[in-house]
């Protein structure tokens, strides 16, 4: 494998992509001025609602889609150049394969395409199957009998066979049961520890939060948030939940503080509201029993961004 040419594994600047469909070839802008970078050695989550442009971006990176304008580089090479794919392993969303082959035969086929042969090919297949907990009887059955979860594991196994520098996974956890999700999550983390950069899209935001170094959120073809999970959630402010020993009358509540269903619990929208409520309690001799701060989750922020885009 050729040495990494850049500290940035993915560079995307001002990417625009238009689809043309129907008899009139009506254009639809799928990606609007998309820009972000993925550093080598990181796990990068790509989230957004259905139809937001996640798969389109991934297919541009893998050279499956052309783009209108902008700059896209994978390890310093344009995805239009076949050489860029020497560094990439890719598993599409809901992977489909030649169903007349068994899982092992399919892996041999893809392994040969990335230049493996003989004992090295067999040992690499064994390694990939071990990593994904797929080294079971069913791997020698025809693919047409596979469940969605089995197919997903084979899809990821074929993507990692060539020991890629960049692993691109489109919804790798869709169709998996909790055990399968855990296996894939662990496999991603193990590969990342071995130095593989992971770029993946997912709807399962709790998984994204737990394993990604950075996240980009795409809504309606535009990147609306980008950064570490902490950066993104903290940029939306922190909410405080305060419980007092005595109830406070609604009319007395300071600005920015709202009551909850519980008579002694209050939500402060920000730091200022929290300070106001604490000052009020101090001056009125009301004891504070408990104070928690709560950041919005990625799901809260994504829901808010979708609503904003719809509006």
């Amino acid at each position: 494998m050729i040495a990494c040419m850049s500290d940035l594994m993915i560079e995307i600047e001002h990417l625009h992509k238009t689809y043309r469909s129907g008899f009139t070839m009506k254009p639809k802008l799928a990606l609007k001025d998309v820009s972000f970078n993925v550093e080598a050695g990181k796990v990068y989550g790509f989230i957004g609602p259905n139809g937001a442009g996640k798969s389109t971006t991934i297919k541009v990176l893998t050279g499956l889609l052309n783009f209108d304008s902008g700059k896209v580089l994978v390890n310093g090479i344009s995805p239009r150049d076949v050489k860029s794919r020497q560094y990439i392993g890719y598993s599409p969303e809901q992977p489909y394969f030649y169903d007349y082959l068994s899982g092992r035969e399919l892996l041999r086929f893809y392994g040969k395409l990335v230049g493996l042969k003989g004992a090295e090919l067999e040992s690499r297949i064994g390694w990939a199957l071990e990593l994904l907990h797929a080294n079971k009887d069913w791997i020698d059955r025809r693919l047409r009998s596979y469940s969605k979860g089995m197919m997903q594991r084979v899809g990821i196994a074929q993507a990692i066979l060539g020991k890629p520098k960049l692993l691109i996974l489109d919804e790798p956890m869709s169709g998996l049961d909790p055990m399968g999700r855990r296996d894939v999550r662990e496999a991603i983390q193990q590969l990342n520890r071995d130095g593989v950069t992971i770029f993946y899209s997912s709807h399962l935001l709790s998984d994204v939060e737990s394993i990604s170094h950075r996240v980009a959120m795409i809504v309606d073809g535009k990147i609306v948030r980008e950064g570490t999970v902490d950066d993104i959630t903290e940029s939306c402010g922190v909410e405080y939940h305060i419980r007092t020993r005595e109830a406070i009358l609604g009319a007395d509540l300071p600005r920015g503080v709202s009551a909850t269903g519980h008579p002694q619990e209050y939500i402060c929208a920000d730091d200022v509201a929290r300070d106001r409520l604490l000052g009020f309690c101090l001056s009125n001799g009301i004891a504070v029993e408990k104070m928690d701060h709560k950041r919005p989750s990625l799901e809260d922020i994504l829901t808010e961004e979708i609503a904003r885009a719809d509006a």
């Binding site: 499956l64 489909y96 030649y98 086929f109 893809y110 395409l113 990335v114």
Partner: protein
Amino acid sequence: MQTLKHIGIIALNTFRESIRDKILYNIGFLAIALTLFSIVLGEWSVFDRAYVIKSTTLSVMSLSGLLISIFVGISLVQKEIQRRTVLTLLSKPISRAAFIVGKYFGLLAVVAVHLVLLTGIYYAILWITNSSPTVSLLTAIYLIFCEMAVVIAVALLFSSFSSTVLSALFTLGVYFAGHLSDQLMEQVKFASRMGELRGASSVILEKAAVVIHAVFPGLYRFNVTNYVVHGVALPDMYVFWNSVYALGYIGVFLAIASWWFSRRDFL
């Protein structure tokens, strides 16, 4: 070197895929049945038995090869796109041209195996019926193979940018144009000599005949059944130049198919 390896791997997989296709078996069984039926036709016919067996079997080879080339050929690329297997395949470090050429050679190998199988049956029938098998029959079969090699390239060209149904129609169109272009040219020349073509429409007709003759592959060149069944030996240079002719068209069609395919988006 790497590209050649990729072409070989894709060709082998295409061959495996095609020999599992039910259409192939239907066409194959029909071809074998018709080949065997040529013995009965030979008995019934008022013509020489050997002549009937030879001409019928060569026609069966040509027709069944055509059906395989079109119906298996056009579905090869379309199936990859519709089943989305193309996404994983083209994300590997292989060029789209290698994909097209690999598909081409995979199907070419299927047609070759089909023709070899029919040739074996054909020669067995000729031997059983004492119908004097000749080497020139092999030349005719080789030229059928060359013709099919061109037709597969045409089918792949169309399937690289259009739907299965349209690809089938376009390929059939090229096949018939390729077989009739010589006759059309002759007819137009004859009519012109006889003074039957006058006015602007005649100029358009003449030009159209010239264009069709020049652009479409002259598939009539590969049909030598009438010569070989009558024992006429074909000059070696005829076979050589027609092989070169076929290679030229195949190269051009595959180059256009690869170019077009490399511009495609895969959703």
